[in-house]
């Protein structure tokens, strides 16, 4: 019962962060601010959804997989944010 309530609350939070990230991506005026919004969705949105689903998992192996997925997504998001921002800052990429 408590596990179900935790799942409801945490996955709802995760969905809110994902929607916020998308709205930021669409509405912010500049490349760098959009990158800012995108990384919030990556880290917090995925983290809350993984945490919410962890209460539904049935074994330790599945918990470990959920944690590993979130850690890898964090690593990838951090790296990509740095590299894309650097490429955009140096003016390396042209507008299409």
């Amino acid at each position: 019962m408590m596990a179900d309530i935790a799942t409801y609350v945490l996955t709802a939070l995760g969905l809110v962060f994902f929607v916020a990230g998308t709205v930021g991506l669409l509405r912010f005026p500049d490349t760098f601010s959009r990158l800012h919004a995108l990384t919030k969705a990556d880290n917090l949105g995925l983290g809350f959804i993984a945490l919410g689903l962890a209460f539904q998992a049935e074994s330790w192996a599945q918990l470990a997989m959920l944690a590993l997925i979130w850690a890898l997504a964090l690593l990838a998001a951090g790296t990509v944010a740095q590299l894309v921002a650097r490429a955009a800052l140096a003016g390396l990429q042209e507008d299409e």
């Binding site: 890898l72 990838a76 790296t79 740095q82 590299l83 650097r86 042209e94």
Partner: protein
């Protein structure tokens, strides 16, 4: 509720595929193509085909994306302006395509449903529990053998773009990265995790989701990250180790088939007693070859530093 989810997914797939061909620049089409691969992977997951979803996610959203983006960057450096001529609707082609779609739709509804052979007893004899692996490496081993040789032939085709003198130079563009930077750190952190995961996929492919192709693709992708971050030096064609790794998969597969023929049964038949061990051996050899072949396919031919970009 499930129907709403599936309908939303189908609508997304159709919209993304239409957006890919809608024009507006090559780069936009490439990005839409990458997201198309992603949505297709989710679609396969909904259909219960987990192995295909794994392969689609790795290749469609990963390797093909890198290949297309590298090609686009190279075209841009050569200052080639992509001029798309808007010539209007090509009526004969449109009519032929519509007729073909109509014929396929009619055939779908007119033909009787095929009777599915009951394989459940036979799967127990193949030595593996995953039905996809059983089909790929036991029932239809002939197809998989030919496919692995086709991959090798594709790589040879890519290498023919190089000059004879370049066969001793490292493959691909000479990647370099700032030492101590973000890219090098990523190239040091990700590949070990990917190596363990890829090896796990090959091993677990006998019983659950995975297989030689899926494991090989994941290994190729993380190997590519290591190469791009200049953490792994690019090999050259003349290295013996590289050539052995490429030929290992098809070679082992062919040898086991010939061994079976020499021992009295048919070519490529696998006796139930040794099935599991033999399939695992073939899978390990195949995944090494597939990983190296796919990584080299994306890397490209060796480039001479003076002339072409």
């Amino acid at each position: 509720m499930t129907l709403a989810l599936d309908l939303a997914l189908c609508a997304l797939i159709v919209c993304v595929s239409l957006a890919t061909v809608a024009g507006g620049g090559i780069f936009r089409a490439i990005i839409f193509f990458i997201t198309y691969g992603l949505f297709l992977a989710i679609g396969w997951a909904r259909l219960g085909a987990f192995d295909v979803a794994l392969a689609e996610a790795a290749i469609g959203a990963g390797l093909t994306g890198v290949l297309l983006l590298a090609a686009h960057g190279r075209l841009r450096r050569m200052r080639t302006k992509a001029v798309v001529q808007r010539t209007g609707l090509n009526l004969p082609a449109a009519l032929a395509a519509t007729a073909m779609t109509g014929a396929l739709g009619w055939a779908w509804f007119a033909l009787p449903a095929p009777s599915v052979p009951d394989l459940s007893q036979s799967i127990a004899q193949t030595g593996v529990g995953n039905p996809v692996t059983a089909v790929l490496l036991n029932f239809r081993a002939w197809d998989t053998l030919l496919e692995s040789i086709v991959l090798l032939a594709a790589l040879l085709g890519v290498w023919m773009l190089a000059r004879e003198e370049d066969w001793n130079t490292p493959l691909g563009p000479r990647y370099h990265a700032l030492s101590g930077g973000v890219l090098v750190g990523f190239g040091r952190l990700l590949p070990p995790v990917g190596l363990i995961f890829g090896a796990y996929l090959v091993w677990a492919g006998a019983e659950s989701v995975g297989g030689a192709f899926q494991g090989g693709t994941v290994l190729a992708a993380v190997g590519l990250v290591a190469l791009m971050a200049n953490v792994l030096p690019a090999p050259s064609i003349s290295q013996a180790g590289l050539r052995i790794a490429l030929v290992l998969g098809p070679g082992v597969f062919l040898c086991t088939g010939l061994l079976a023929a020499a021992l009295g049964s048919d070519f490529l038949s696998i006796a139930p007693e040794v099935a599991k061990a033999m399939i695992l051996t073939i899978e390990i050899a195949l995944s090494i070859s597939i990983a190296v072949t796919l990584a080299l396919l994306v890397l490209g031919p060796p480039v001479d530093t003076q002339g072409a970009p």
